[in-house]
């Protein structure tokens, strides 16, 4: 790792004041697990890291929102998220996915904000949070703004968070009682590897038909993304294997998979097809 300046502000205001709108080598860090990996590989050479570890208060923990849903502080560790009764009640799909996300030690240190800000397409939570309709609040000296989860990651390690912004919290809306959710994670190498394909689904049913559907894929593509054609194919259809297979075909047709050590583009396209079908079926 290269040498860098490390600052540890005590307040959020001080933290955002230490970011630099014109310098992407200045970064906010919380657990820093993902960033240290990039620094060790010399893919990222910071000039200054703004550590958020001395900020506590409302940026840590899972809170009920008065109007329903949850507000999750960006500094909440993935372990705290995994063990949160509120999260388990509101979105068990999140709690379940966290059990297979990296390992206990990484989850003890890594935070939700860092997980989302990193922009790595292999992260498990972005596709899930997209289907749950989550939003992210980012703050800077200019104020704060909301980013829809589906708009947060714009490319391979590219996010819509500006250099002078950092994630303060995540809003998870209350889920309808009839929502079917599932996250299907497929690892082609070892069981604890990064996913080759991650598929998150969310759909509602009424009178035997699917009335609303959201479907997102991660890991196989350059960024996690909703797949509109697959979603459209589900709405109005029966929640049955034939409809799920049609949606899986639509998803496989819509993506441009990236080839890497976890598989060729053609292989990943087939794995997306398989795992979309499975996710929809297991969500039943």
């Amino acid at each position: 790792m290269n040498r860098f300046e490390l600052v540890e502000p005590a307040t959020l205001d001080e933290a955002v004041a230490l970011l630099d709108p014109d310098d992407s080598a200045v970064r906010a860090v919380a657990g820093a697990t993902a960033l240290i990996l990039m620094m060790k590989a010399r893919l990222f050479r910071p000039s200054r890291l703004v550590s958020l570890r001395r900020l506590q208060g409302t940026l840590r923990g899972v809170h009920d929102e008065p109007a329903g849903g949850l507000r999750i502080g960006a500094l909440t560790t993935l372990t705290d998220l995994e063990r949160s009764d509120r999260v388990r009640a509101a979105a068990p799909v999140v709690s379940r996915a966290l059990r297979t996300l990296s390992n206990v030690r990484v989850r003890n240190v890594a935070t939700l904000g860092g997980h989302l800000a990193h922009g790595d397409p292999h992260m498990d939570l972005p596709p899930i949070l997209m289907t749950l309709g989550a939003r992210v609040r980012v703050v800077s000296r200019r104020g704060d703004r909301w980013i829809e989860m589906q708009d947060l990651v714009r490319g391979y390690y590219v996010t819509s968070i500006a250099n002078d912004e950092l994630i303060a919290d995540v809003h998870l809306p209350a889920q309808p009682a009839d929502a079917h959710t599932w996250y299907e994670k497929f690892t082609a190498l070892s069981a604890d590897d990064w996913p080759t394909v991650g598929v998150a689904v969310w759909y509602r049913t009424g009178a035997g038909r699917i009335t609303d559907a959201r479907l997102a894929v991660g890991a196989a593509t350059e960024r996690p993304m909703r797949l509109a054609a697959a979603e459209a194919s589900l709405i109005g259809a029966a929640a049955d294997p034939a409809s799920f297979a049609r949606a899986a075909d639509a998803a496989a047709d819509a993506i441009e998979p990236l080839a890497d050590i976890r598989g060729s583009a053609a292989y990943k396209r087939e794995m997306v097809r398989v795992h979309v079908r499975r996710a929809l079926d297991k969500g039943r």
């Binding site: 790792m1 040498r3 490390l6 550590s51 206990v104 030690r105 990484v106 604890d192």
Partner: protein
């Protein structure tokens, strides 16, 4: 080297208050080895996957190879060297010896510290919980079945109410 890149940290290391001068980019693993001669936590994969560099920070297991030394300022650090009391091994260590929960021993310090966190949270873990907790600790000798037996034995030794077999006499025990 400018001061912006260097700082003095103070922390508790295996029960002792210590200070160290560290560069901001150094990991706690590097500092434990260089400044304190502690090699129980050792780097293997360097990516947080294998668990060989596990240390406890305020009772929580972390990968020492991915944890900046500057972040342990004011923290309480425990390494495998801090578990025994003099010649008396910690019950987890005794259990690993008794059940031979290792072969070459390279991964063992990390496995033992993960077991410490596990038993702190689940004093009587199921096999599934043991496997889940230790899934990030790789043993290239594949001593996994014995490791799981050792963790179960450690749970017994740490909770005398469940002790069915007191095990071999330890160094320091008195005849009764």
């Amino acid at each position: 080297m400018s001061d912006r890149h260097q700082r003095t940290i103070a922390f508790t290391l295996n029960g002792r208050r210590v200070r160290a001068s560290v560069a901001t980019h150094e990991t706690i693993l590097e500092v434990l080895q260089r400044d304190f001669g502690l090699f129980g936590a050792r780097e293997s994969c360097g990516q947080g996957l294998c668990g060989c560099c596990t240390v406890l920070v305020d009772g929580t297991a972390v990968s020492g190879c991915l944890y900046l030394a500057a972040f342990v300022d004011d923290a309480d650090i425990v390494t495998v060297e801090g578990l025994s009391r003099g010649a008396e091994l910690h019950p987890i260590q005794r259990a690993f010896v008794e059940k031979t929960g290792f072969q070459c021993g390279f991964c063992t310090p990390g496995v033992i510290l993960m077991t410490k966190e596990l038993l702190g949270r689940y004093p009587h873990p199921t096999d599934e919980e043991i496997r889940h907790y230790l899934s990030g600790n790789l043993c290239r000798c594949a001593a996994y079945p014995d490791i799981i037996e050792a963790v179960k034995r450690a749970a017994e030794l740490m909770d005398p109410a469940t002790l069915t077999n007191p095990g071999p006499r330890r160094h320091g025990d008195t005849e009764t």
